[in-house]
């Protein structure tokens, strides 16, 4: 007997079922596809709904890590508008001539310390309690997004370095693949707390699970998020791009925890 001892019968059965039921995916031709960073998951559907009210347009929203979306755009993904979680990815695409222009900043994200219900940590924006918890062994796990590639992970690292806690907290860190996963780690109580995006913490199902305080803005590089029209953008993508710069859109962004240049002071 050789490797053929793997269970071929169930496998072929499954394959047959999969082939028989596999339907062709719905066509994307008609709709304008907007690619957006994961931290816009709660705000963008509302923005799209507000935009669609004014016309008969239909937007399709695709969410992902900005890095992944950038890669997909490079490989020719049929996106017309890209809302990144930072400025760098837009710059990368612009340098390669895949965008219409340099794009524009549409929102600024904010970093918060989130602490789940029942955690031994206190929601203390000065990180004094975090420092104390590191000293007395209260802290088991602390969640941030991966600083190697996630913008909010980089901001979290900067804030922890600024406060002089980066070395001490190292053995306690768990890394979310993106900031949404870091929120999930912290909100589920699997980590005692985390440094995450305000926009995600404001979602009702997260907000109900714990408390949060903002991290002082001068502890990390501002999380300016940039959007850009891609080379193949049509009229509808242009219209949505313009809509996102209006005061109406700014108000929606503000409700979801973003600062915008266009928002009323």
């Amino acid at each position: 007997m050789t490797l053929r001892t793997i269970p071929t019968k169930p496998l072929s059965l499954i394959l047959a079922v999969a082939l028989a039921t596999g339907a062709a995916p719905a066509s994307l031709e008609a709709a304008t596809v907007v690619a957006a960073a994961n931290n816009l998951q709660s705000v963008l559907p509302e923005l799209a709904a507000a935009f669609e009210e004014s016309g008969e347009s239909e937007l399709r929203l695709v969410f992902g890590a900005s890095g992944n979306l950038t890669r997909q755009i490079r490989e020719g993904a049929p996106f017309e508008l890209f809302l990144s979680a930072d400025q760098d990815y837009v710059a990368v695409l612009a340098a390669e001539g895949l965008t219409r222009d340099e794009g524009v900043d549409y929102a600024r994200g904010r970093l918060v310390l989130f602490v789940a219900e029942g955690s031994p940590l206190k929601a203390d924006g000065s990180f004094d309690d975090l420092a104390a918890a590191l000293g007395d062994g209260r802290l088991a796990r602390f969640a941030i997004a991966n600083p190697e590639h996630a913008p909010y992970g980089r901001a979290a690292e900067e804030a922890l370095r600024h406060r002089g806690l980066w070395e001490a907290i190292g053995p306690h860190l768990v890394f979310g693949e993106n900031v949404a996963q870091a929120v999930q780690f912290a909100a589920s109580g699997n980590a005692d707390g985390g440094l995450v995006a305000l926009s995600l913490v404001l979602a009702p199902q997260v907000a109900a699970r714990g408390q949060y305080v903002p991290v002082p803005g001068d502890w990390y590089t501002p999380l300016d998020q940039r959007m850009v029209l891609l080379a193949g953008a049509g009229a509808e993508a242009e219209a949505f791009y313009d809509f996102l710069k209006t005061p109406e859109a700014a108000a929606i962004f503000a409700r979801h925890g973003f600062d915008t240049a266009g928002a009323a002071p």
Binding site: L3, F185, G189
Partner: protein, 222 residues
């Protein structure tokens, strides 16, 4: 090249094989020889990880490992640290999602041992244990070997579940597959390419070695 991640993956794969060896032998032999009701249900349960998306298993594991679950609390009180985001948690997940790869080939192996042969062993005065060691196991051995290699290779390659329950802690839960993903995300194609190539060569070598071994065993028996 992230050697820490590679070593972690090998350690995880090796320990998974060690833990699944007795489980595979026990379950495989039982399913091959035993006559019980509800056998399809048991076999279906064992095959389940093969068809479930890693997200489903990952989700259940995340909930089961959590501080709110009985398992999570029991582990916390015994080990003094949470099960989620730990190497032990990853090992437990690995054992679960490799179950079909451990049991199925072993079961097929035992099925090649005919009832007449086992009767003959019993008639010759061999005890059940002697019969297992001297008659059944040597015949079922290629199946057991296949199971071990599949588990090893599958653990090296597992990504989705590790991504969901691991937390990418270097030296603890950041396996080579996660390390490659992180490098790709960071646009570090050179490092990702190097690690991917190493994994490709190692996986190929593992499978080739097994094929050669099992052919050698088969020839010796003939």
């Amino acid at each position: 090249m992230d050697w820490t991640a590679l070593w972690l993956s090998f350690r995880l794969a090796g320990l998974t094989v060690l833990a699944l060896l007795p489980i595979g032998l026990l379950l495989g032999r039982w399913l091959a020889f035993g006559e019980m009701r509800g056998r399809s249900v048991i076999e279906a349960l064992i095959l389940l990880p093969l068809v479930l998306p890693p997200t489903v298993l990952g989700y259940y594991l995340l909930v089961a490992f959590g501080a709110a679950s009985p398992l999570g609390q029991a582990w916390q009180s015994v080990a003094g640290q949470p099960l989620a985001f730990s190497f032990e948690g990853l090992l437990l997940a690995s054992i679960l999602f490799n179950l079909p790869f451990a049991v199925q080939p072993t079961q097929r192996g035992f099925e090649t041992v005919g009832a007449d042969l086992r009767d003959a062993a019993a008639c010759s005065g061999l005890s059940a244990w002697q019969s297992f060691l001297r008659v059944e196991l040597p015949l079922a051995w290629p199946g057991v070997l296949t199971a071990s290699v599949l588990c090893f290779a599958h653990t090296l390659g597992e990504f989705g579940i590790v991504l969901m329950v691991g937390g990418a802690i270097p030296g603890e839960t950041k396996t080579i597959a996660i390390a490659i993903y992180d490098r790709v995300q960071a646009f570090d194609d050179a490092a990702a390419g190097r690690m991917a190539a190493v994994l490709l060569v190692l996986s190929l070598a593992t499978i080739a070695l097994t094929l050669a071994l099992s052919r050698h065993l088969g020839r010796r028996r003939a």
